[in-house]
């Protein structure tokens, strides 16, 4: 049996190189197909990766805890008390949680001497927020907040431009306090942050948590707890644990908090698979045709093989071996090419010429290529699997020749 296999493999390999030109042409088609599969998948993943990471780093985090009505109606009345001792301990001890922090988050109006604008006022614990969200690294001008008592404010670059203000200048923040009265307070801008998206720079204003709590008369109450886990895979497990510890709070993972994001991930996954299949069909036609021709021109030879006693299934086997080698080499070249592409574009693809368009779909100026092992595996498996399936037809035809007719054919 092993001898037969060896023979078939040898026959398949040699047959492959009987017509080099033809083999090279189809190899090119297969390699290009595989390259486009893997590279496209990496591009799509890169987009999703960036959008999801951006949302998680911005303020969403992996998991958020709120009072039950807050998500539906995010106002001061729906704030909650500081986490219970049991919950705090869980947040602190669980090794899957790498950062968490309590925030106050309310709608507010910001006014400089010249202009005003609607924003979301976020009261943070600066030391805890450092590892949780983008703010610390994004504060490019001025300084970061010192602690919960810090009387300064950090605003986005675009908002500062719009309000015609800057570091060192004063602004006034107005928001509704616990008693439904408008509370206002002056702040000095201590820092300006740069975000991936202009909309983020316009939307958020950061101050020390205790300062907001005092301004709005909310005592020790908070609006939300943001949590960052080790990675996206453990999110569901951690969410379940937290829900057990605090059954009366609304505890949700990122994909529930940002349903649009989840929809985008699904759509992108669907698109990637469709692209794989389309590319495969395009090169499948070539593959089948090439093998059909290879089989057809060897009609006499197959007749002879059969006349000499070779079983039809071995003829089938030898054509399948030929197809297998063809696919394997094509895959190797294709994967190598995409590896090279990923290497060349390891810094991402620059789309800054169309930055405003990219921003509309939540992308920054540079789209990274993020190759995921399972995409590569799926692409390769699909090509080998469906490729062999498609090759079965020419192979079966080769095995079906009637020896006497085949030998006499020219």
């Amino acid at each position: 049996m092993v001898d037969y296999l060896k023979l078939l493999l040898a026959l398949g390999w040699r047959n492959l190189w009987r017509n080099r030109r033809r083999t090279f042409v189809i190899l090119f088609a297969i390699a290009l197909g595989v390259w486009s599969m893997v590279t496209m998948a990496a591009f799509m993943r890169g987009i999703i990766h960036q959008v999801v990471n951006d949302a998680i780093n911005n303020l969403t985090g992996h998991i958020q805890i709120h009072a039950p009505q807050y998500r539906d109606d995010p106002v001061i009345e729906h704030s909650m008390t500081l986490p219970s001792a049991a919950l705090q301990e869980l947040l602190q001890k669980n090794e899957k949680i790498i950062a968490w922090s309590a925030r106050v988050r309310v709608p507010a109006v910001i006014a400089s001497e010249r202009e005003s604008s609607g924003v979301t006022l976020v009261g943070i614990d600066p030391s805890r927020e450092k590892t949780l969200s983008f703010l610390f690294e994004a504060t490019k001008k001025g300084r970061y907040l010192k602690d919960v008592e810090d009387k300064g404010v950090i605003i986005g670059r675009k908002l500062a431009e719009r309000l015609q203000t800057g570091v060192g200048k004063r602004i006034v923040l107005m928001s509704q306090d616990r008693n439904n009265e408008i509370a206002d307070r002056g702040f000095r801008i201590v820092g300006i942050f740069d975000a991936t998206l202009e909309s983020t720079e316009l939307a958020y204003v950061f101050v020390g948590r205790s300062v907001v709590q005092k301004m709005l008369g909310m005592g020790q109450d908070i609006s939300e707890i943001g949590i960052k886990t080790r990675d996206r895979e453990v999110v569901d497990a951690v969410t379940a644990k937290l829900r057990q510890a605090a059954p009366r709070l609304d505890i949700q993972p990122w994909n529930v908090l940002q349903p649009l994001l989840q929809a985008r991930v699904t759509i992108n996954n669907g698109f990637t698979i469709i692209w794989f299949v389309v590319v495969f069909v395009a090169m499948g036609f070539g593959l089948v045709n090439t093998l059909l021709m290879a089989v057809f021109e060897r009609t006499r030879e197959f007749g002879l093989f059969q006349a000499l006693g070779m079983r039809p299934r071995f003829i089938l086997g030898q054509v399948m071996c030929e197809a297998f080698f063809l696919l394997l080499i094509g895959l190797a070249i294709g994967n190598l090419l995409s590896l090279l592409t990923l290497q060349i574009y390891s810094d991402g693809i620059d789309v800054s010429g169309l930055a405003k368009g990219a921003q509309m779909i939540g992308l920054s100026n540079v789209i990274p290529l993020t190759s995921q092992l399972n995409d590569v595996v799926v692409a390769n498996a699909l090509v080998i699997g469906l490729g062999l399936l498609a090759s079965f037809y020419p192979a079966w035809r080769a095995a079906r020749y009637v020896p006497v007719e085949a030998i006499t054919r020219t």
Binding site: V25, S116, G118, I267, V279, F285
Partner: protein, 409 residues
């Protein structure tokens, strides 16, 4: 030529299975291109049209610099007269004056910072689709009425209904405090989360009084009949503004740069995909062309010995490829057109896309564009690519020597 054509036709069907597979590969590519480009163009059309008609308009006349940094002081004096003049110059009724400010809006229990837009109740419904989406109550009645129309999400957040009063608190053009109490007469639901959550409409004069604007405004919005008429309207507007260096006329591409660049980004990404696909298909069928020449070496040798010039044989081979490609492209085009027509009638939608589409002012289902461009670009690209592929084997014929060729197996 007739003879060549007949020979080409017969040669194609000598290997009918192979030819059918090649035809199918070509048709497959054409169907994909026709369908995809149709959907793409169709969605761009709705996206531009819906966004432009919702609020921005095709053209806006503004003070220079207002677009980049919209400040209340960067205003147009006597804005109503400018709008009236532009109506006369362009011959269009769809011209409306606007003013924009910012205020803290409070109901009994809630407060939010929102954009306040002062509009001309008579002309605003002609340039914007928002007045038409008033679901409860009515739109503004006169330029001087003391009434407001708010977005549905904002109404929900403020917990107000028709007839409730809002307190507006902002700062006027001269820096003074602008404050008023105003009843809500209508709630609109535009479908755009941004507008529904952040927008309040007031009659223009009420706005001007509140924000101490005098007769100033911030923009005159012009809606052209359609995109084709836009350059003409634009020329008239620019001509009217003349050398007035303080005002500029901006078209939708400048007003909504995101939309235009998003479309360009999408086109760039999809052409990368299309070209890859076409190249793969071309190489898939290159082998068919190549083999059909190589296996006929002997036959060509005999033809040459009988006096056929290599050039004529080359033409024959090209003709075979051309007829085959044309058949494939034809089948693909028919099929693609049928698919596009089906979705043109019934609409094309992807489950799960609805929310995403809403973000870009798009309806749930998209109709493919039925245009010459859609039906010609894909087929031409595929036909061009296959003809280039056929060139290589055809040129090889010139290298044949009759005697050697006849001995080839």
């Amino acid at each position: 030529m007739d003879l060549l054509l007949r020979m080409a036709w017969r040669n194609i069907w000598r290997h009918s299975r192979r030819s059918v597979l090649t035809l199918l590969a070509i048709a497959f590519g054409v169907v994909l291109l026709v369908f995809n480009i149709g959907i793409q163009q169709g969605s761009y059309d709705v996206m531009i049209d819906n966004t432009v008609r919702m609020f921005a308009g095709h053209i806006q006349v503004q003070r220079k610099g207002y677009l980049d940094t919209p400040r209340i002081r960067t205003s147009i004096p006597n804005v109503s007269k400018l709008a009236a003049d532009l109506r006369k110059t362009t011959g269009l009724e769809t011209v409306s004056a606007r003013a924009t400010g910012f205020a803290l809006v409070s109901s009994r229990s809630r407060s939010y910072g929102v954009i306040i837009t002062g509009v001309d109740p008579k002309y605003e419904p002609m340039v914007s689709s928002i007045p038409g989406t008033v679901r409860q109550g009515r739109y503004l009645s006169s330029p001087t009425a003391n009434e407001a129309v708010v977005g549905s999400s904002l109404a929900k957040n403020l917990k107000i209904k028709i007839g409730d009063e809002l307190t507006l608190l902002g700062s006027g053009r001269d820096g003074s405090v602008a404050a008023t109490v105003i009843p809500v007469v209508g709630i609109f639901n535009s479908g755009s989360t941004d507008f529904d959550r952040h927008m309040v409409h007031l009659p223009l004069q009420t706005f001007q009084e509140l924000f101490t604007m005098g007769d100033h405004g911030h923009a005159v919005v012009i809606l052209s009949k359609n995109l084709e008429q836009l350059p003409d309207t634009m020329a008239k507007v620019k001509n009217y503004l003349g050398q007035d260096s303080k005002l500029v006329a901006l078209d939708w591409e400048q007003l909504l740069p995101g939309i235009k660049e998003l479309i360009e980004l999408d086109i760039a990404a999809s052409w990368f995909i299309y070209i890859t696909l076409v190249v793969i298909i071309t190489f898939s069928i290159l082998n068919t062309f190549l083999m059909s020449v190589l296996e006929r070496t002997r036959e060509f040798g005999i033809m040459m010995a009988l006096g056929a010039a290599p050039f004529r044989i080359g033409i024959l081979v090209m003709l075979e490829a051309f007829v085959m490609s044309l058949l494939g492209v034809g089948i693909g085009l028919l099929l693609g057109a049928a698919i596009n027509y089906y979705f043109y009638v019934y609409g094309f939608s992807v489950p799960g896309m609805e929310e995403f589409a809403k973000q870009f002012n798009m309806p749930d289902s998209i109709r493919p564009q039925m245009s010459f461009f859609v039906f010609s670009i894909g087929p031409s690209v595929v036909l061009g690519a296959t003809m280039i592929a056929a060139l290589y084997p055809a040129l090889r014929i010139r290298l044949l020597k009759p005697v050697d060729a006849m001995h080839a197996v």
